[in-house]
């Protein structure tokens, strides 16, 4: 395992948090449309797990994808431009919040049909195996696939874990259990609330503390090593909590302000900050400096998005096919 740079992780977590707060503001000002699923409160999962991936590895996720994109090192400017529906966006303004992607970084995108992208991730992993075994390429990539607890009840979930196990594919399934599927609590949507147990007949797995970036990094590294060494898939259930609504338009009738307040003591960013202060890796002055740097970076992203042109109308007809006939 490469050594974890906790200060860098702290910075990335702050970047995600700040990006999301700005998104909320811009949504309120109606500059961002559609569904906007914020990642506030879950930052340690993306930063810890994606930090354990290598450049040749692959990342697939669902619609709550901002944190995953930033953790994989995507530039906030084209991401914000995508949210504004601009030509300079990562998907030329045609995907929006739920469909961030970056080919060059093996970030295969956010997908918006719950549970479905697990199968695409399985296919990408199948591709790696095929390239190795049939084409003789020395591709040692691993796929990491993120999804929520709500994605583990439908058929596509079971087809995905079943195929991944059958072919011993190099893939890590990473369930972010934030205790809710939209407004439906965990115990209301599933009989097996320890989600990792659903996969246990097919592959090894475990439940981890998703609010501790150190634990996430360590467990994710081991899972990736397992998959890379040819032992097949691995399942991680990261326990976390979404501190904002399901989407920016969610009135959150299913929980109280007090419920949320009680969870703030487990805010992964505060936990990490305290650790860094305790260990003398950070002081208040340095913390302020990082915060203001991050803030500037996101403000620049908003400015970039504002100043970017909307797509030409002809863009609507582009990319339907790779090879139009």
């Amino acid at each position: 395992m490469d050594k974890q740079d906790l200060l860098a992780d702290y910075r990335t977590m702050l970047l995600i948090r700040s990006f999301e707060e700005h998104c909320q503001q811009q949504y309120t000002r109606a500059r961002i449309g559609g569904f906007l699923h914020l990642y506030v409160g879950q930052e340690a999962v993306a930063v810890g797990a994606i930090g354990a991936l290598k450049p040749q590895d692959h990342l697939v996720t669902h619609y709550r994808d901002h944190g995953h994109a930033l953790a994989r090192g995507l530039d906030p400017q084209p991401l914000m431009a995508e949210l504004f529906g601009r030509q300079t966006g990562t998907s030329k303004g045609k995907g929006g919040s739920m469909h961030f992607a970056d080919d060059a970084k093996h970030f295969w995108g956010g997908y918006a049909i719950v549970g479905a992208h697990l199968l695409l991730a399985v296919g990408i992993a199948y591709g790696i195996q095929y390239k190795r075994e049939v084409l003789g390429q020395d591709d040692d990539g691993v796929v990491m696939c993120f999804f929520g607890d709500g994605a583990t009840n439908g058929g596509e979930f079971y087809e995905a874990i079943s195929l991944a196990a059958l072919y011993k594919l190099p893939i890590v399934f990473l369930c972010e259990n934030n205790e809710f599927a939209m407004g439906t609590p965990l115990s209301v949507h599933t009989a097996v609330t320890e989600i990792h147990k659903k996969a246990s007949p097919f592959m090894p797995g475990e439940r981890i503390n998703g609010n501790d970036v150190v634990e996430v990094r360590e467990k994710a590294s081991a899972a990736i090593e397992h998959a890379r060494s040819g032992q097949g898939p691995y399942f991680i259930e990261a326990m976390t909590y979404r501190l904002r609504g399901h989407s920016a338009a969610d009135p959150q009738m299913y929980r109280t302000r007090e419920d949320i307040a009680a969870r703030r003591s487990n805010d992964p960013i505060e936990l990490l900050k305290q650790k860094l202060l305790d260990e003398g890796l950070l002081d208040n002055k340095k913390a302020k400096k990082i915060e203001s740097e991050v803030e500037k970076e996101v403000e620049a992203a908003v400015k970039f998005a504002e100043e970017s042109p909307a797509p030409e109308l002809s863009e609507a007809w582009d990319d339907i096919y790779a090879q139009p006939l």
Partner: protein, 332 residues
């Protein structure tokens, strides 16, 4: 030129593509140990080994998604869906994913995959005797082909495998044994081009896939009666090429659309609409459609025979059109 069956033509194209490009592989139910449900890829496992052709569990969404992911990651999968009825379980993968991925990520990823979807009937009753050609033809982002001759089957399968976009390849158990001239060497027939199979001055019959050989038979019988029918084989349902259809219609001013599907809201309905909009100036008679009677497929032989189209159904429709009769579509 050798005369071979439609199935053999498909087999040749698949084999040629497998030899030409190691990225091409076949997945599907019962393609290895059972050695192919209908026999299209019979013997492939001996020739190519079990990594190039692989049995999939009965999990249609699962292996459709596996194929899509592998295609995104640079491979060229051919996914045999066993039958079009079971492919319904993979619609999310095909419609929400294969068809959308290139567009919604602004062209960053391509999905060069072929889904082979055999239709058919034969006393298999309601759930095993359907056609969903219109489901796929409706979707921007998919290319949908349904060749009607062995020559086109071979050329279009090769074209489909080489195409960088997702292609739905509609086959039919009732056309597998149809024979025709097919060159031995490898070739492609372009996707997206309709084909005037037979010129004629009295009526234009539009068809594709399984109906094409039936329409050819009907046209021969009509010729014996002095009726000169043109045949336009669509071959591709999306993107649709109406030019040869309109060109022929301009001469005949009359049309019959013969498709093997429930008539209402089918592919034939789209062709009729296009004839009314793009060909309005040339219409001399109501356009008729031939298809399944709009009932779930019954089991009993006499009932099944009564509700599916035959060459006689096409001949009858042509005569109705020539007599200027209007058509009523029955739904219950």
């Amino acid at each position: 030129m050798p005369v071979i069956t439609f199935m053999e033509a498909l087999r040749q194209a698949l084999r040629d593509a497998m030899h030409a490009d190691e990225r091409v592989f076949i997945i599907g139910e019962d393609v290895v140990h059972y050695d192919s449900a209908y026999g299209v890829t019979k013997g492939f496992v001996k020739e190519f080994g079990d990594k190039r052709i692989r049995d999939m569990p009965i999990a249609e969404a699962g292996y459709a998604g596996l194929g899509i992911g592998a295609a995104m990651n640079g491979l060229r999968p051919v996914v045999e869906m066993m039958t079009t009825n079971f492919a319904l379980l993979a619609l999310d993968m095909i419609v929400n994913h294969a068809a959308k991925i290139h567009y919604m990520f602004g062209g960053q990823f391509t999905v060069p995959i072929v889904f082979r979807l055999p239709n058919g009937y034969g006393q298999l009753s309601a759930t095993h005797s359907q056609a969903f050609d219109n489901y796929y033809a409706y979707i921007p982002g998919l290319k949908v082909v349904a060749p009607g001759t062995p020559y086109d089957a071979k050329g279009m399968m090769r074209a489909a495998i080489e195409d960088p976009d997702p292609v739905i390849f509609i086959e039919h158990t009732g056309i597998y044994s149809v024979k025709g001239e097919v060159p031995e060497e490898s070739y492609t027939v372009p996707i997206g081009k309709s084909n005037l199979l037979r010129d004629g001055k009295d009526v234009t019959i539009v068809c594709y896939g399984r109906m094409t050989p039936m329409v050819q038979q009907a046209a021969e019988k009509l010729a014996e009666e002095g009726i000169d029918a043109a045949i336009v084989d669509l071959r591709t349902l999306r993107p649709l090429d109406m030019e040869p259809v309109i060109e022929s219609f301009r001469k005949t001013n009359r049309a019959v659309i013969a498709t093997e599907e429930w008539t209402s809201v089918g592919v034939g309905a789209e062709i009729a609409a296009r004839l009314y909009t793009e060909g309005f100036d040339y219409i001399d008679a109501p356009i008729w459609r031939v298809g399944f009677d709009e009932v779930p497929m019954p089991y009993a032989k006499n009932l099944e025979t009564a509700v599916v189209p035959h060459p006689e159904s096409v001949i009858d429709a042509v005569k109705q059109v020539l007599a200027g009769k209007t058509q009523r579509i029955r739904q219950q």
